[in-house]
Amino acid sequence: MSDGRAPLLSLRGLTVDFTVSGGVLHAVRGIDLDLHRGEVVAVVGESGSGKSTAMLAAMGLQAPNATVGGQALLDGTDLVSLPPAALRAVRGRRVAMIFQDPMTSLNPVLSIGRQLSEALLVHRPMPKRAAHDRARELLELVAIPHAAERLHNYPHELSGGMRQRVMIAMAMANDPDVLIADEPTTALDVTIQAQILEVLSRLRRERDLGVIVVTHDLGVVAGIADTVHVMYAGSVVEHGDVRSVFYAPDHPYTRGLLACSPRLDSADDDLAPIPGSPPVLTELPAGCAFAPRCAHAADRCLTERPMLRRGRATQSACLLIPTTNEQELR
């Protein structure tokens, strides 16, 4: 996917710390991520792994008690250090986001048409009539039937799947380059999930959109992603192209995650749970955050923090993985 082109969006050493009563909570501990045009990058992890926090912070949407470090470069412009007014001009226009629960993202007292027009008018002034027509086109873009009538509906009159389509339509209003989808299908039933994923794939294809999908669902990742970043306790523990991550994972956490996910296509008895539970972020171990749950952990895993290194086919942050010669891989 990358083939030497400069990435559209590039996260470099992104960190997010929260000041809480018990001290400082390191929610995101330095992540790197590249997104190219027409590419789908999945960020996968369990609750509290920092996947959503990282993406929100990259867009300047962090909580008031958060401190963001590192860079989020959009075509070379660092969004993290951008003043609020300049950031607002970028957000919603060049980078758009959709969230898990469309009901809480939509205003319940404004019609769909009004909200879509608003998204348009914020970034480019145009006659109301034109905004209305454009809003209808946007609903058609996300395959909402009877778009003209739907414009007069309020969010509660739509089903969950329809609301998420409206959110996607709104995100697409200003023809962005990057779409960040934070758990876009988690609140939806599988048959509706399939519809939404199809819309996202089509937009990526037709508009050459770069998409970051934040999800906990490995099945969704397998179906839609080109590259995958696996997060654990605020760090990326493994990343690579989707086939490498699924078929040749190096990191024990990625392997564990795959081995403990029940599969629709087999009734095998060998679900191997990962023992224990993720660490509390205020009390992170000194070494590898996964070491306390890792079957292979050695003494140095408890003291030395692993950095991402090239392994068989992916990059992973594990001290015990023998590095492969770069030449051998090519």
Partner: protein
């Protein structure tokens, strides 16, 4: 549908709710569950799958009589539960217990774990010493540590809390557990721990499960038999192998084909049946077959005639005028024929 030694026999169960407020015409009712019948044998896991609003949880709640059924019969070990007074239900209720989706909402935050697990025993009137012993015993069975017993629910992670909920349900040594989405609030790595625990408990204690879940992969890993519900009715039921690999109902096929598989090559090769539109309102379900408004096979017959749930062999029932077996899951590992028959005989 008939099992040799049924522990639970549900016949023609229906539940309607009268919606309050809103723009609803007078006398309109929500048909949450319509004419549902199934059996569960001793030691068997029977699952009901379906999407939000299909009536699977209401069915489970009717079985435990948390919700009063509108019509139908529920027989537990030969005893009719429908119509029993609270007092008469009490001794039977000890024998079937429920585990809920959200352990935080179903565990009293002001009680210690010891008291939560001991509560059903106290209600039964057990002696204090025997309660203590039994609490320690079930805590061990769900792999809680003894010093966990003096802590409060908020001091535990989601997975540990679900263990507490399971321990409470096991305290009275029930024969049937009704599990309503027991792992859907948990992360995958924790979910696998609970799935494994449920399998162990079932195998060690010969428990029967009525499992309600929307996650088709989890259901496959736990169940011997499965029923698929759509808009309040069972559209297909049979052995897990039959329902997953030789599904007959178009809705089952759409549901299975939409559920993602964590395997990029398979996922990109699979043919997906993408249903158009949404589930119709249960206030006004379609005539005839309830799925016909979204079905690509629908004919005039489907509009006029309600398809009965019919046995097409080996207890594989379907409610469809145009059934056709299809394997919509391209499996990683095809299951050998002898394994099939083994599965069949173990069911019989």
């Amino acid at each position: 549908m008939s099992t040799i030694d049924p522990l639970l026999v549900v016949r023609n169960l229906s539940k309607t709710f009268r919606p309050r407020g809103g723009r609803v015409r007078r006398g309109a009712t929500v048909q949450a569950v319509s004419d549902v019948s199934f059996d569960i044998a001793r030691g068997e896991t029977f699952s009901i799958v379906g999407e939000s609003g299909c009536g699977k949880s209401t069915t489970a709640r009717c079985v435990t009589r948390i919700v009063e059924p509108t019509a139908g019969s529920i027989r537990f070990d030969g005893h009719e539960l429908v119509g029993l007074s609270y007092h008469d239900l009490q001794p039977l209720r000890q024998r079937f217990q429920m585990v809920f989706q959200d352990p935080m909402a179903s565990l009293n935050p002001r009680q210690r774990v010891r008291d939560i697990i001991g509560e059903p025993l106290r209600v039964r009137g057990d002696e204090r010493d025997s309660i203590r012993d039994r609490v320690h015993e079930v805590a061990g069975q769900v792999q809680l540590r003894t010093d966990d017993l003096d802590r409060y629910p908020h001091q535990f992670s989601g997975g540990q809390r679900q263990r507490i909920g399971i321990a409470r349900a096991l305290a009275l040594q029930p024969e049937l557990l009704v599990l309503d989405e027991p792992v859907s609030a948990l992360d995958v790595s924790i979910q696998a721990q609970i799935v494994r625990l449920l399998r162990q408990l079932r195998d060690e204690m010969g428990l029967a499960y009525l499992l309600i879940a929307h996650d088709l992969a989890v259901v496959r890993h736990l169940s011997q038999r499965v029923a698929v519900m759509y808009l309040g009715t069972i559209v297909e039921t049979g052995s897990a192998a039959d329902v997953y690999e030789r599904s007959l109902h178009p809705y089952t096929q759409a549901l299975l084909s939409a559920a993602p598989i964590a395997d990029p090559d398979i996922e990109r090769l699979r043919e997906r049946i993408v249903l158009t539109g949404d589930v119709p309102s249960p206030l006004d379900p379609p005539s005839g077959c309830r799925f016909r408004t979204r079905c690509w096979k629908a004919t005039a017959e489907c509009t006029d005639v309600v398809p009965p749930l019919t046995d097409l062999g080996d207890g594989h029932h379907v409610a469809c005028h145009h059934p056709e077996p299809v394997n919509v899951i391209i499996g990683r590992r095809p299951i050998a024929p002898d394994e099939h028959s083994a599965e069949r005989t173990s069911l019989a």
